[in-house]
Symmetry: C2
Subunit: 119 residues, 2 copies
Amino acid sequence: MTRLTIRIDFDGGRQVGHGKIRLLELIGEHGSISRAAREMKMSYRRAWLLADEVNRMFSEPVLETQHGGVGGGHARLTSFGHALVGHYRAIESQALKSFGKQIADLERRLLPAAKVASK
Amino acid sequence: MTRLTIRIDFDGGRQVGHGKIRLLELIGEHGSISRAAREMKMSYRRAWLLADEVNRMFSEPVLETQHGGVGGGHARLTSFGHALVGHYRAIESQALKSFGKQIADLERRLLPAAKVASK
């Protein structure tokens, strides 16, 4: 299946793309940065830095974290965090729909992928 | 200015995104892989490998190269190469237009970028 991924580059080198959005989704799902990091096969430190970067990008935070307690810290998306993820995914799926014809056109010209895919 | 970049991932790990498309555009403009590489601040070897990758992706080549001669080799886009670049850029600009409202919405919530932008 062909995938279309988008990346939004704002002024000042601030960027939102597939990686950060997926991380936010997984944090929302698991309520935990460390579980999200594990699922994305990245270090806790890297996940924390990425989440912190998005958290400082907008006038509202995308994440709320709660430290400590018996089961360790908790993290959850704010309503703005949910909106950000929703906007991004909507753009992505609408783009794939809108440009399905052009993409199918390119797909038809692809060489068979057998050799590459069987790696 | 906010930019929207797209990446298309086909089966078999084959990917077309901003970097390869920009490289093709510059090769088309300059008629030379080495000049395109210089403008993108990448090594000739890397530019050649990227161009070769796209050239082997589809049933038609995107580039034609001519070796040697006094002024060194020449490279030019095939008509399919032009079509590929055109499709990609059309998807990109239509996406930015279609999703302008959502993106403007996010822009309004960005924090002032002064500190980051003045780096």
